[in-house]
Symmetry: C3
């Protein structure tokens, strides 16, 4: 049975099951240590062709317009998580929770102190272009930068179809947060427009994960203004939580436009303590905001740039009792 979690090399020889939990608890009590031990996580990712429908129900719910399928369905190339050795595509439980589709690359999770080995394979049989992975927020040597530039490119910035490359990353003390990753090869103009991006969620060494984590990617796709590749309510992700839960929103933007993230009925604070319910971000900027749910409701979340909202950048968030 293939593992659906990144394998934690640092954990391999640790005891498993209840004994491990007891030992972890003891360690925390006696030594003040974190229950999470620094690990090396192996993640298998490939760039693969995907036929993608940006508006599966074909409807612009705001204006009541209907789109023919020829205007909403496109072949493209996206990042997919695979089992070890790119055996077969796999999807983690927490990725299934939110989005209806599978547009964004996998949400790669780690903790400060962890090392990541991202094993990337270019399976782009659609455009037959080179691709790469460039990661924000984490530490790496130039060889793992994933950039293409004549004279300066390493292999990792120019992974040709059929080839693979392993990016070696470290979640350092300044890596806690939510960060984008994306193609930075020669074909990045086309491929990012087609959805070749994803997110990294790095928790602090001793940070408690929230009960829910929602990824919101603002990016244009084939004339639509999409959230995680989908446009208009009824197509964009419906995020869900329950009263009493903590939630984290991971927000990023890709492309050439600026956006303002707004959630109805909720507020959060800047890192300086100022209340907010709308925050601007431009290409490759990203942030995470958190709160505790204390009341049920169905709410809108959207980009507050009016033209973007009207072109589909809007979704639903449900807090159940």
């Amino acid at each position: 049975m293939p593992s659906v979690l990144p394998s934690g090399r640092g954990r391999r020889h640790l005891p498993q099951g209840p004994a491990a939990i007891l030992l972890s608890a003891l360690a925390v009590l006696l030594l003040g240590a974190s229950p999470a031990t620094a690990a090396t996580r192996d993640v298998w990712v490939a760039a693969v062709p995907q036929t993608w429908n940006a508006v599966p129900n074909g409807r612009d719910a705001i204006h009541g317009a209907q789109f023919p399928r020829s205007q909403t369905i496109f072949p493209t190339v996206v990042y997919r998580r695979f089992t070890r050795g790119w055996g077969k595509p796999v999807r983690l439980a927490y990725e299934r929770g939110a989005a209806a589709g599978r547009f964004n690359g996998p949400l790669i999770r780690a903790r400060v102190g962890d090392r990541l080995r991202i094993h990337f394979k270019n399976m782009d049989t659609l455009h037959d272009q080179p691709h790469s992975m460039h990661f924000h927020g984490v530490e790496y040597k130039p060889s793992s930068d994933g950039i293409w530039l004549p004279l300066f490119s390493g292999k990792g910035g120019n992974v040709k179809p059929g080839q693979s490359f392993t990016y070696r990353l470290t979640a350092g003390s300044g890596s806690a947060g939510f960060w984008p990753y994306h193609d930075h090869s020669q074909s990045m103009e086309d491929s990012i427009a087609g959805g070749l991006y994803g997110g990294l969620s790095i928790a602090g060494r001793h940070e408690r994960r929230t009960d829910r984590e929602f990824v919101v990617t603002f990016a244009p796709f084939r004339g639509f203004q999409t959230i995680d590749g989908r446009a208009f309510v009824g197509n964009t992700p419906v995020f869900e939580s329950r009263v009493g839960e903590t939630v984290q929103w991971d927000v990023m933007a890709m492309g050439s436009e600026f956006h303002t993230f707004h959630v109805h009925g909720h507020r959060w604070r800047t890192d300086g303590g100022t209340p907010e319910d709308t925050r601007g971000l431009g290409p490759a900027e990203s942030f995470r905001v958190r709160w505790h749910e204390d009341a049920p409701g169905t709410w809108l979340y959207h980009c507050h740039v009016e033209e973007h909202m009207m072109q589909g950048m809007i979704g639903l968030y449900r807090v159940r009792p």
Copy 2:
């Protein structure tokens, strides 16, 4: 005589006049209580037709151009404060201070802990469209969200001409600041472009209000880049203060564009302590900055996006000796 202040329900049976002031002072001294008691404030607002001139003097003072009136005067629909029961339109003293006109909706003021009942009536006889009020920054139940969306809309998101709705809001602990409100009904694309927005100024429970408060709304209007609905020096609000006074600038943006707020000859700090004299904001983002005036002068304030400044987003600020 109709009250021109939002009625404070929580204050109704408190003593009035000098006795009240003495009691408040005593309460502060003895109990450390705030002089302001949590209140329920009733505000009466209507969407009404208004003929609006974006450039009353017809002049682009930057380029020396002159506009015919047909290019600057337009019928539109705006929010107006009314006396109880929408008896008649009314304007508060502090609203009169700054702007030459009456474009923005009323500046609704409250304190953390207050409850607000916004009694909204749609008197749009111009376009005969449904309208609503959606408030940022404050707490409310989904029924007071003011959004229009098929299946999810409550009555408050679709107030038809002639109808009314009361939005129930609470200024919570995370509500201190300056926030936009705006139409979020089916007609929001047109109505926000026409000026159907305003601001909420929520002071902290024990916060001292500044001597002056200026509202700066960056939004396009009929091809002009306007501040509070007016374009070019000579038309935009002339804000005024005196040496020794404290001033607060409430800044917000509506529409689809990003702006950078700049005031000449002054600086303020981010909530992290970094000095600034220019701050960017996108649609529905808002903030307040404050300072103490220590020298006289006539200064410019403007959006520093050059194209916006050249299309009218610039005004004067006078500090008198």
Copy 3:
């Protein structure tokens, strides 16, 4: 021999050389005083014609395209530092370090508490237009504001060709940071597009300067998206440092567009403590970020707005062992 440093009036009669260093050290030890004494700095600047090549090697390294010289070379007007009395143009050592060219105006450096006298002469024989200097971040009287506006302009906002004006500025307690200066005269639309801007770097009273300081100005120039007036790797500044050094990046934007500053392989923190590797900024916004170099490498720095990066807003940063 003309001085190439702004003359520090407050320092004129202080001892020079080793004796001065010893005395400074003693003052610091005994009195807790800063080694830097508040000074009045005289800076001589002129607006002068310059033929500027935005892409000296003629190559768009990203797309492999080649531009004819007629598409990259333009006559324009820029700010230049001069010796006392505008005797002759001069360039400071630290200005030479980074950029290949001389596009931006001089980096004017001072400390909180210093006074600056900027002696500006308009030597625009190219367009024969009035010009001015408007400074962000520092304190000044309206007469030194450098703005042009009918009725309100002082002489400093309308310095005609052949004329000069002295702007009197103070680096106040809220002036620490990196700030733009630029033309704010009647011709600012054209002249800022042509490069009439520069930066002010104000250190705290007792702040230690970093080993390296890099100026990154994001602005369009004649259809290119430039950094300090240059487009595409091979033309934009190559910034250099060594392992063990501290570096400061001074980032600003001019014009009408928004940008996101990103440096590969590095992270910094907001003033609230949140890690970042990309920060958005709009026209006239500016900031400085700092870090310590602990590993060698050749990295990209760029605007992460994809269209801007593809139109040239990208450069190299080398950390030598």
